[in-house]
């Protein structure tokens, strides 16, 4: 009975027989899947661009040498150390601290200290918090990372015109 139908169909569709070949169909399917994945990737690349690129990267590059020299000349030689707990879990509040000491090891206070968290895969989830002074040279912020996976953190301290920063890439685990 089945063979009967197949034979009838084959005779009927003779000119397009190749399109009934499972191998040909398989290959076409594969190409369609690859193209679709590419399109999704292109879309995601545009839609979730983290925008971490400096707008004036060209000028910054040209001025690099000068910036480095003025920076070196003004560099107060502070030691800045962040303390971010080793095991982080999504949604769990933790204290993130940063310590500032001068060249002689005495604690120092910048004017403003900010904590930035960048989500490399989705700029919409980035957040920024200001850090509070807990003691001389010691600043803290309580926060929870909302999503598991990779986060780039940057702690930025501002003193007058100068800016100092420490960065760290973190992996946040399941809750």
């Amino acid at each position: 009975m089945m063979t009967h139908i197949q034979t009838r169909l084959q005779t009927h569709l003779q000119p397009n027989a190749a399109l009934r070949n499972p191998w040909v169909l398989g290959w076409i399917g594969l190409i369609v899947v690859v193209l679709a994945v590419n399109l999704v990737m292109v879309y995601l690349a545009f839609a979730t661009n983290p925008g971490l690129v400096n707008a004036d990267y060209y000028e910054r590059g040209r001025n690099y040498e000068r910036t480095v020299l003025t920076r070196q000349a003004r560099d107060p030689g502070w030691l800045i150390r962040a303390d971010i707990p080793a095991s982080l879990h999504a949604g769990q509040t933790e204290s993130i601290r940063v310590f500032f000491v001068d060249k002689a090891g005495q604690p120092v206070d910048p004017e403003v200290v900010t904590f930035h968290a960048y989500r490399p895969s989705d700029a919409a989830r980035d957040f920024t918090l200001s850090m509070n002074r807990e003691d001389r040279g010691r600043y803290v912020v309580e926060t929870a990372f909302p999503l598991i996976g990779v986060w780039d953190t940057l702690i930025v301290a501002r003193l007058g015109e100068d800016e100092f920063s420490v960065g760290e890439r973190l992996t946040v685990g399941t809750p």
């Binding site: 009975m1 303390d83 204290s95 000491v101 090891g105 005495q106 010691r138």
Partner: protein, 299 residues
């Protein structure tokens, strides 16, 4: 499909394909039927014993009176009972005895981790790794000592070491020589200190606190413990006041540690944690002693 049955008397359904493929009316196997009836009996029995059928916003009660919340509460009770048992044993035993009992030690560490995070991590770091200005607890370089007795003393009563400011006692070149000597000592594990530095160290009173070999021990005891005043080891390459190096050493020598009337003096105060001045019970402190001891440097 054939219209007339070519296989009469065979107990088939009358469905025949490709001339000879038939659907028969054989009963299901006996084991299958037994399973079928058993499952129905099971459902009936289960729904009499346990809540099964929706009744308004609720469900039928079930003869056994089981509820999910009751089971949860019993679970919590069991854990509480287990905890109370552990807590009682911690109360009865010394920190050393707890350290020797793997099961109890594991419970104590888990419980102390939270205490450490709430009370100690702000200064000593989230993992006891130390921070600029605050000593490392996860190594065996101790200012006061890493025995359970010394740790208990430190956490209970706090510590506040003293080193005099030498700004008015020593000349500038003497201070520089000593600061260079401290760097040499730290960089060479105590072998490379200059003669001039050693002479000043021994004649200007440093030796009284930092010890004969500058390792911070005033008297070494046979059991590996030591007597000291909290003075830093100057020869092990670990800087108490980071970033370390010449500037740091010079600053400490010039302005001392915890000198009330010297504004530039180092501030190094470990608060007292015992009640009523502090906020930790004896039990909490015992747990923290076990925790700090296990961070890596316990003696």
């Amino acid at each position: 499909m054939a219209d007339h049955n070519p296989f009469p008397g065979e107990n088939n359904t009358g469905h025949v394909w490709d001339d000879n493929i038939r659907e028969l009316k054989n009963p299901p196997p006996r084991w299958w039927m037994q399973g079928f009836w058993l499952s129905i009996i099971w459902v009936v029995g289960y729904s009499i014993l346990y809540p099964t059928w929706p009744v308004g916003d609720d469900a039928n009660r079930g003869l056994l009176g089981w509820t999910q919340i009751k089971e949860y509460e019993q679970g919590v009770e069991r854990i509480e009972a287990k905890r109370a048992e552990f807590e009682d044993r911690i109360r009865e035993l010394s920190a050393d005895q707890i350290l020797a009992d793997p099961g109890l030690k594991q419970y104590t560490l888990a419980s102390a981790k939270v205490l450490f995070g709430d009370n100690c991590a702000a200064c000593h770091g989230s993992g006891g790794q130390g921070n600029p200005g605050y000593p490392v607890l996860a190594d065996d370089d101790w200012l006061y000592g890493g025995t359970t007795a010394k740790l208990t003393e430190t956490i209970t009563g706090g510590r506040q070491s003293l080193m005099p400011a030498h700004k008015t006692i020593l000349t500038e070149p003497e201070v520089d020589t000593l600061a260079h000597w401290v760097v040499q000592m730290n960089e060479t594990g105590g072998e490379g200190g200059s003669e001039a530095g050693w002479t000043l160290f021994k004649t200007k009173g440093c030796v009284a606190c930092h010890g004969q070999t500058a390792n911070g021990h005033v008297v070494d005891l046979p059991n590996g413990d030591f007597i000291g005043v909290g003075a830093a080891n100057l020869r092990d390459g670990i800087w108490r006041f980071e970033p370390g190096g010449f500037e740091s050493a010079r600053h400490t020598i010039l302005y001392g540690v915890n000198q009330k009337d010297v504004p530039e003096s180092r501030n190094a105060v470990m608060p007292a944690f015992a009640e009523p001045a502090g906020k930790l019970s004896e039990q909490d402190i015992k747990k923290l002693v076990v925790y700090v001891h296990s961070l890596g440097g316990g003696m």
